[in-house]
């Protein structure tokens, strides 16, 4: 038994960046217009690329599967719009890497009816059928990581899932997609929970929501169906509470072992928008064609939460909402972990939770890097109690092995809290990313 629990209802350390959510949190989700051309990369998720099922020049219906999963660790891609496959080629992605994909030209006068598939219902489907249906719907974690959801839900033989934890934290500044989904799609969320409970075998579902979305928590609480074992838990606002491990600690007061997964402590964490997507698609046998994206930031004119078809080019999105003349940085996701893009001709993909546009004056000035003055801000910020200051110094001399053995480098999940607080503008998390990828490469080489 713990005598003192100073961190009741939340995890240790963490930071409080400004939220910037007021501009969009009260704006209802709006359907976005269809762009004339869609870009559909085959690598929108973590895992094996999807395998194309269509040829150039072929006509496809909205909702039709155009690429199938290449294995268990992969998901299909569906056509977001009725149209014709113009070209199969390499398409640009957010990382700058060119991957196989298609350019899909929409039929301008099509009614855009969705082609329905075989519905599946939670009460009479088996666990395997649900997992398969989730995979066939092309569903990945919509929080941003885009990890195939069915892989996460498949509980290993020797383990057991006790609690299904729905992540409605949305701790990234600017983003309000999950907030709107919880307010507007609560029925879908609860429908999704039925599937998820069955798929994981969990007896109970807890929805974790940060206190800045109290209205969403109240709304969900009020609408819980009587037969569902769901509990809504409000946790204090703190970044990075949306990280799986942090949310588990906040809600359940247990720690996931270093290097382990939530299932090791009997928990499966699923993003709340993913649950809503499952609840909406599976009863109709549909595939994922669109998602809610927050478009915001100081450079955007018509900010809002939009339901945008997957594959819509960012350039088209920004033209539609209008941006200021001095845009200087566009990034996908939230400001803490989002990726800045160098090219507007990349598409909105399944993992795109937000598009934030900065003008010149919003980009933080980090040109001058001071030496580390060992102030300890990063140590007090790191949610998993690493010592970023020490790792930063080690990374300067490329002592990557020491970073792993002495400092638990591989536990770092790159939330960026250390870089955020560092008064000396040291790009700590960037160095850790580099260090991690070098260590991984070395390991792969050693095994090869």
């Amino acid at each position: 038994m713990k005598l003192f629990n100073f961190y009741k209802n939340t995890f240790k350390h963490g930071i409080h960046p400004p939220e910037f959510k007021d501009d969009t949190k009260d704006l209802p989700i709006k359907q976005f217009s269809f762009s004339p051309v869609f870009i559909l990369p085959m690598e929108q998720h973590i895992g094996g690329p999807s395998e194309l099922l269509v040829n150039e020049g072929q006509e496809v219906d909205r909702g039709q599967m155009i690429a199938k999963a290449s294995g268990f660790m992969s998901v299909p891609v569906h056509a977001p719009v009725s149209g014709v496959i113009r070209k199969i080629t390499k398409v640009p992605t957010v990382s700058g890497k060119m991957v196989t994909g298609v350019y899909l030209e929409a039929f301008p006068y099509s009614g855009q009816e969705v082609r329905e598939g075989i519905p599946i219902h939670p009460q009479d489907a088996t666990k395997e059928q649900i997992l398969n249906a989730i995979q066939q719907a092309g569903i990945v974690g919509l929080g941003g990581a885009a990890f195939p959801t069915h892989v996460k839900l498949k509980v290993p033989e020797d383990k057991q899932c006790d609690i299904l934890l729905l992540n409605g934290v949305e701790c990234e500044p600017y983003l309000t997609t999950d907030h709107r989904v919880m307010l507007e799609q609560s029925d879908d969320v609860f429908m999704g929970i039925r599937y998820l409970l069955k798929a994981t075998g969990a007896k109970k579902c807890i929805i974790g929501i940060e206190a800045n979305k109290q209205n969403a928590a109240d709304h969900l609480e009020k609408n819980i169906p009587e037969d569902l074992p769901v509990e809504v838990r409000v946790v204090p606002v703190k970044y990075p509470q949306g990280a799986e491990k942090m949310l588990i600690t906040s809600v359940l007061d247990i720690e996931v072992p270093s290097g382990g997964l939530p299932i090791d402590v009997g928990v499966v964490v699923v993003n709340i928008a993913t649950s809503a997507e499952i609840g909406r698609l599976l009863p109709h046998g549909l595939g994922i064609q669109e998602r809610v994206v927050t478009i915001t930031g100081p450079g955007v004119k018509k900010k809002g939460n939009y339901l945008i078809p997957i594959g819509t080019p960012i350039r088209y999105v920004l033209e539609e909402v209008g941006v200021s003349d001095q845009i200087s940085e566009v990034y996908l996701g939230g400001p803490m972990m989002g990726v800045a893009i160098s090219n507007l001709d990349i598409p909105v993909v399944k993992g795109t939770s937000g598009i934030v546009v900065y003008t010149n004056k919003d980009v933080p000035d980090v040109k001058r890097e001071f030496p580390c003055i060992k102030c300890g801000s990063c140590v007090d910020a790191c949610p998993i109690s690493l010592n970023p200051s020490k790792m930063g110094l080690l990374s300067r001399v490329k002592a990557y092995d020491e970073m792993v053995s002495d400092c638990n480098l591989m536990d770092c999940f790159e939330c960026g809290s250390c870089s955020y607080v560092c008064p000396s503008n040291i790009p700590l998390v960037q160095r850790f990313r580099i260090a991690k990828s070098i260590v991984r490469k070395r390991k792969a080489k050693a095994h090869a």
Binding site: K12, I15, P17, P18, P173, K245, T249, E255, P257, S258, G259, G260, L318, V323, I327, S328, E329, V330, Y331, G333, P335, M336, G338, V339, A340, S342, N343, L344, Y358, V363, P364, D365, V366, F370, P371, C372, I373, K374, C375, G376, V379, P383, I384, S385, L386, N387, S389, K390, N408, D411, G416, S419, Y420, P423, S424, N425, P427, V429, Q430, R433
Partner: protein
């Protein structure tokens, strides 16, 4: 929409915005009350001492950077802090050429030799003072009475001593409360100590002005409050125990707390981020170590004042504390990690 060049940078795309130079600048602001008060108490002499020490530190840093083909780092304000702190630890009638030397040593030996800001193991100002104390033991313990009538019109002649000459002190010199206690066993009034109307180093005297500056930094989140708190608490408790044991022989804990440089050291020197440990537990051990050491040196040591050596020894201990004490990483068991 025009076809624009987009900037790319790695996340996070937000910064807290408190940079190192801002922190350093605020430390300088926090030292203003103590500096202003010492100038009020000791007059022009204090102004000259502090001014010379700051000038010397800044010039030394600037030229050392220039000579080693680096960009000058004086605009991060850390040299200014060293200068002000060094000035505040010296007697107001200290010869200016010695003060200048102290600044050169503080920055050159205490800071730059170790690699500049961020790498100095010891507090540079205290390194400067320690060398001065060893080199000029008489000059550095010749004090000047507070609140002299003519303090704003004339300065003590010893200030103008020619370089490499020993100063000649005119009659007016006063003992500090600590040396009075040490050698003559006279305890000063606590209220006098609080307001700083006593003899002593330039800035070691007014408790209220120092605490005010310290509280400002703590309020702005630019100082680890645990360091002064643990130093003062441990010094108070330890000397309090001694006092209860034998009130005849040992001074009151209040006297220990408010005399000499303990407050200035606890708030502005021990809290130097570079020289103090990085973890919370480490910081508390470091603070208690310094607090207890101060009392030991003051009571049983050969010197009337022990803050300087206590903090320098604490600085030496800090990296070792950081090596031994690391926070337990999330998801690892308490025992497996040393």
């Amino acid at each position: 929409m025009r076809n624009q060049t987009l900037n790319i940078s790695t996340s996070p795309h937000l910064k807290k915005g408190v940079t190192t130079d801002v922190i350093m600048k605020n430390v300088v602001y926090a030292l203003i009350p103590a500096t202003a008060f010492s100038i009020y108490v000791f007059g022009l002499s204090a102004l000259f001492t502090i001014g010379m020490s700051v000038t010397s530190c800044v010039l030394t840093e600037h030229f050392l950077c220039k000579w080693s083909d680096k960009d000058s780092t004086i605009n991060d304000y850390s040299a200014v802090i060293t200068g002000v702190l060094l000035g505040l630890t010296l007697p107001p009638i200290f010869p200016l050429w010695m003060t200048f030397m102290g600044g050169v040593i503080a920055i050159g030996l205490g800071k730059y030799l170790f690699g500049g800001l961020g790498f100095n193991v010891f507090n540079p100002a205290l390194v400067g003072r320690a060398v001065l104390q060893a080199a000029f033991p008489v000059a550095i313990t010749t004090w000047y009475p507070a609140l002299m009538q003519d303090r704003f019109t004339s300065v003590a002649s010893s200030i103008y001593t020619l370089p490499f000459m020993q100063p000649l002190f005119d009659g007016a010199s006063g003992a500090t409360p600590l040396s009075a206690f040490k050698f003559d066993h006279i305890s000063a009034e606590t209220t006098d100590l609080m307001f700083g109307f006593v003899s002593g180093s330039t800035g070691e005297t007014c408790a209220i002005a120092i605490v005010l500056g310290g509280l400002y930094l703590i309020y702005r989140g630019m100082m680890n409050w645990k360091i002064p708190a643990s130093i003062l608490t441990s010094a108070f408790l330890f000397s309090g125990m001694l006092y209860l044991y034998n009130p005849e022989l040992y001074p009151t804990p209040w006297f220990i707390l408010f005399s000499g440089g303990l407050l200035l050291g606890a708030f502005f020197m021990a809290t130097d981020m570079v020289g103090s440990p990085i973890t919370n537990l480490g910081v508390i051990i470091y603070g208690c170590f310094i607090g207890i050491l101060v009392v030991i040196i003051r009571i049983w040591g050969g010197l009337p004042e022990g803050v300087m050596y206590a903090i320098l020894l604490g600085n030496a201990l800090a990296p070792q504390l950081d090596r031994v004490i690391q926070p337990r990483v999330y998801g690892t068991s308490k025992l497996s990690k040393s």
